[in-house]
Subunit: 360 residues, 2 copies
DNA sequence: TTGTAAGCGTTATCAT
DNA sequence: ATGATAACGCTTACAA
């Protein structure tokens, strides 16, 4: 039996001298091929454990790849496969809720081999457009978007759809757009907050809401109205205050409410940030919660527990929502079922705390 | 004068019929070239306003490019130029301070044509390693890192350096690493917090610190010690409590402090989150701030203003630090000056609030 | 002024 | 079992 001389190993040891020089840049398949005096296609096959590759060759290739710390060039692969394994995320801000959702998305995405690219629109429609363009230019494989409070037209969404790029909307979704959505049952959130305040004996509930066109805000208001109607309470249009989605505006709005002649005895703020703004105003007026006035927020941010009084708030399961969103996205990428009608709706849960708990 | 027939325009109108089909995928230079029956290189030149291109050709190319919504393929460019115009950011979490810093980085980066890719290490060294690898695989042009509280060895940093990839450390920096850094003067932060507490008449100051190996924490402690020495106060090792960088641990640590026989009359927490944990414990003990006990936090998060009592805190200029970090990064990319010794140090500023203000 | 061809790093197809 | 070649989209010498 003639001893088979391992040609490769022989040349290998010689080529190792170039190691230092080669490693200055990223090692490529070509480097390995040249060092081993074989073709790039063979190296490629060996690396991917293709069946039709000689045992010795495979070993030699893998050993050298290891030694040279070879990493496949993602750019080249992406160019070839026409996919970047990147998800573009556009969100209005990075507050507690959205940061938590992004963590959820990232966790699932990473598991599935995707990398996320997060852009903040800063609640500006213009920046949302710009970010869409940036991410489109970056050739992301798909989008996960929560629209800004300013967003009234959906050109960017349509542009994404016209290019047949997968898109999932979450949290702040748009209804008249045919894509999968992950959201909270905001109407129900409005219901439980309002019902709770009524249960605690409050009679005149004001709502500090977001901008007029903002879906999540309007849905929560809708739930609020429903419960008023159920309880035969005549709704008062003036008790719904729309303001920018930010603490300072809520503060101003609340001051006006408390100064007005028809002062409410409870406030339902459709986010914790707005609730905090309201709380500051309430304290300035010297009113006590829950005795003089009741307050319920939304999101169940950790700080609601820490404030004095602790603020009652509606939990929205941010982390789980993030994970669910990413899962649908991955499903979209991997199956060709039509998911455009899919809508996952999370159920809100009220955490009752001092700000509205009269013990009734 | 023979009338020059615009050959291009003639074929153009005919080719437009394919428009719909072409637009299903991204338009390429090749599409334009074929439609216009010219070569891709000419199209490339026309698009980039190269000097040696015929006027008519240029116009025709640009018109068609516009019509077909041509966007250069970033992948191809990146592969060619060996740069992705992407910055990899690794941070321990996305709390208020870091989210703010990231906004600062993003703002400057975007301006300079860079896109950021943000990875959270979740305060885990393991995830920091994984994220480094991910971003390295993604061929980011450089890194901006704030290390996790768990990070004790710096293999990943060394790996980045060995590949000669630009790196800037910010906020939680490592000292014995030769790269540009942007940080707060934490020693000074420790000084002003401690001096303020002494000025307010507190005698026994305890420090709720982060993990023992955490630089920012240790520097703040250092400042604390300095001021004690200046004031001829004998430092007490037992008054420095190290705990995980998280509210719950601070709560537990504070409970122990208050239960112990040598109860402090003031607490300097080296982050607002820790301060909040401390505050909850203090309240549970029925102690009043600032009368019975003083409390100072660090970061000047907006909530410090909203808590009752409002917490005194040291401002660290997060947004500006983010911007400065990105600026150095960009400078590194564009100049070949050696910036490895560069260190930008921001000065902290104390905001005095109820939790420690005895009006002295 | 325009076209040809090579190359960036990889894989797939087709030969051998 | 291995190699040559083309292709992904783009730029850039070099030729014409």
């Amino acid at each position: 039996m003639p001893e088979r001389v391992p040609v490769i190993s022989a040349t290998l040891s010689k080529s190792i001298h170039n190691l230092a020089r080669i490693m200055e840049r990223q090692t490529t398949i070509k480097d390995i091929a040249q060092a081993l005096r074989i073709s790039t296609s063979t190296v490629s096959r060996a690396l991917r454990d293709a069946p039709d590759v000689g045992e010795e060759t495979r070993k030699a290739v893998k050993a050298l790849a290891e030694e040279l710390d070879y990493q496949p060039n993602k750019l080249a692969l992406s160019l070839l496969n026409k996919q970047t394994n990147t998800i573009g995320i556009i969100i209005p801000n990075l507050d507690y809720v959205l940061a938590t959702m992004v963590r959820g998305i990232d966790e699932v995405a990473l598991e599935a081999g995707y990398t996320v690219m997060v852009c903040q629109s800063d609640e500006s429609f213009g920046r949302e457009m710009v970010n869409t363009k940036r991410l489109l230019d970056s050739l992301v494989d798909g989008f996960i978007i929560s629209v800004s409070s300013e967003t009234r037209v959906f050109e960017h969404i349509k542009k994404i759809q016209s290019k047949k790029i997968p898109l999932v909307l979450f949290d702040r979704v748009i209804d008249n757009v045919n894509v999968p959505k992950v959201k909270l049952d905001n109407v129900e959130g409005g219901r439980i907050a309002t019902q709770h305040l009524l249960d605690q004996g409050y009679k005149k509930i004001a709502v500090i809401a977001g901008p007029e066109n903002m879906n999540v805000s309007n849905e929560r208001i809708e739930g609020h109205y429903e419960v008023l109607k159920q309880n035969k309470i005549k709704p008062d249009k003036n008790a719904i205050i729309h303001c920018e989605f930010n603490q300072d505006y809520a503060y101003i709005a609340t001051k006006e409410l408390l100064t007005g002649k028809n002062r409410p005895d409870a406030i339902f703020a459709i986010s914790d940030r707005l609730a905090i703004g309201a709380m500051i105003a309430i304290k300035e007026f010297g009113l006590k919660m829950p005795k003089d006035i009741g307050l319920v927020g939304f999101n169940n941010e950790p700080i609601t527990k820490l404030l004095t009084p602790a603020i009652s708030s509606v939990e929205m399961h941010a982390f789980e929502m993030g994970k669910a969103t990413a899962k649908i996205f991955i499903e979209m990428m991997h199956s060709d079922a039509d998911l455009s009608e899919k809508e996952i709706v999370f159920k809100p849960k009220l955490f009752i705390r001092e700000s509205s708990n009269r013990g009734l």
